[in-house]
Amino acid sequence: MKVISIALNTFRENLRDKLLYNLLIFALLMIGSSLILMRLTLGEFHRLILDIGLGSINFFGVLIAIFVGIGLVSKEIEKKTIYTIVSKPVARFQFLLGKYLGLSLTLLINTAIMAVGLLAVLYVQEVPIHAVLFKALGLIVVEFMVITAVALLFSTFSSATFSAIFTLALYVIGHLTPDLKAFGEKMGGLGKTILEGMYYVLPNLDRFNLKGHVTHQLDVPAGELLVIGLYGIAYSAFLLTVASVIFQRRDFR
């Protein structure tokens, strides 16, 4: 109940944030712009629409996850609003979980709105819609949840600016982890151990990317989808646990 109240309050806070609407409008414009781009491209425009559409949803969602996520906790401490929450019968981990679920809900609804925009464009252009598109959208949301957890973790112990830099860096590296492994195998020795270690510790965000499957209409089996989804949820849970441990020990000065 307490966690849900905090989550809904966070959701309401997000809804009243202008940043969200600006990003949402930009995303919808990007998706819409594929209609114009299409006229300039010869052939393969179905792939182009899907590519730009999913890319926009992913990009703007990640921006929201990072830039709203890093403020979730640090803003509460900075504005001292946390004083009135933690002094109530609310455990600190409940507060963190509530904030996390609130932003996740925002991202879910945001993605749904952008997805409706994309589907409208696809419908108007008579592009065939396959089930794998919805699977890709689902995994995009899971990726947002992982990134939100990363942003939240950093914001429990560092400033908003550093949290943004760290999260952004982790997002970029997270999409390059297969390269880390490949690179390590070429290096051998200690380099291999370190890079392989990083491959396993860092989030493998590329696993959530099904854009290629969508544009080439390659379906993903439900079992594999489930494993990827569970991986995302487990990874987020792990990050939230670490964040809770750090947050529990903090003094709010």
Partner: protein, 321 residues
């Protein structure tokens, strides 16, 4: 002391050392502080800015952890959820979720205590009425003045009908009317059987309100006890006397009892060193057939004690309570 009264707040040898700056320099914010707040009293927690009042209150509320010592609320260790459920807290210069309206704001805090539905809505209406904010119930907090924020802040501290209300500097930044209203509110809380602990550096307010006070400076307790006892204990009471038609001989006869004497034409304003001299002075006036205009004990205030303590008295003045 009334031994049957329950101890609501108990602080024993509490200390907090912060590490500040790059080199982690140690700064002692609270130093071996011990005090107790009893059920049903208004307890003033006084001291200059930076004395460690807010740090102590934050430790009580579980916002920061003590470096050593212990504290309890309702006999339970700090941070205990069951104890927190019985406490209302207003932080210093509160900032709240400014995108919420008063109603949404109070509803949110009500939910954190597990209050729901019509019980909660009724409670919100009562509280908005109590703090005089009914007119602004659907206004977003971003549009509030400081006084309005303070009122709605007090309302959130009372949403759970707490047994103990802890207010950090509840009067700071308020105009005289606002301060009076907060004072009345605190008295009303006491009337309804609540225990109130509030911090302040405005001593006048504390003197008007408190049953007992603790005074801290540089993190250390320098005085604690009943307000009247502290004042009597710590200061001598002067008496101002105004007399008309007192002859020059009379003025001379009065002089042994006075600290200073001023003449304004026929009128003499004399300050007696102590209440003990009042009878002697009256005798002089009677014998010289002068007319007594007024006799006013110069009331010693907490401020006198405060200033005396601030001038370097580090010894603890413990008054039996």
């Amino acid at each position: 002391m009334n031994m049957t009264r329950e101890q609501i707040v108990s602080i024993a040898h509490l200390s907090k050392v912060f590490r500040v700056g790059f080199w982690g320099k140690r700064v002692t914010a609270v130093d071996d502080l011990s005090l107790e707040v009893q059920q049903g009293e208004i307890y003033g927690f006084l001291g200059p800015n930076g004395a460690g009042k807010t740090t102590t209150i934050k430790m009580l509320m579980g916002l920061i952890y003590p470096s050593s010592g212990a504290a309890s609320l309702f006999g339970r260790p700090i941070g205990d959820q069951a104890a927190k459920a019985k406490v209302g807290f207003l932080p210093e210069s509160p900032y709240f979720y400014d995108y919420l309206t008063s109603r949404e704001f109070l509803r949110f805090y009500g939910h954190l205590f597990g209050l729901l539905g019509s019980t909660l809505e009724k409670r919100i209406d009562e509280l908005l009425e109590l703090v005089g904010m009914t007119h602004a119930r659907d206004l977003q907090l971003r549009k509030f003045s400081k006084g309005m924020l303070q009122r709605v802040g007090i309302a959130q501290a009372m949403i759970n009908d707490p047994e103990l209300v802890i207010l950090d500097e509840p009067m700071s930044g308020l105009d005289p009317i606002g301060r009076k209203e907060v004072r009345d509110l605190i008295l009303r809380l006491k009337e309804s059987g609540k225990t109130v602990m509030f911090s302040s550096h405005i001593l006048h307010d504390a003197e008007l309100l408190c049953d007992r006070v603790a005074m801290i400076m540089k993190g250390k307790l320098v005085a604690c006890g009943h307000v009247s006892e502290l004042i009597d204990h710590g200061t001598t009471q002067e008496v101002e006397m105004v007399v008309d038609r007192l002859s020059p001989e009379g003025v001379e006869a009065l002089r042994p009892f006075t600290l200073k004497t001023m003449l304004h034409g026929e009128r003499v304003v004399a300050t007696l060193a102590s209440q003990r001299h009042v009878d002697d002075a009256l005798e002089v006036i009677r014998s010289h057939q002068a007319k007594l205009v007024s006799l006013l004990p110069h009331k010693a205030s907490l401020e006198d004690l405060f200033i005396r303590k601030a001038r370097g008295v580090q010894q603890v003045t413990e008054v039996p309570v």
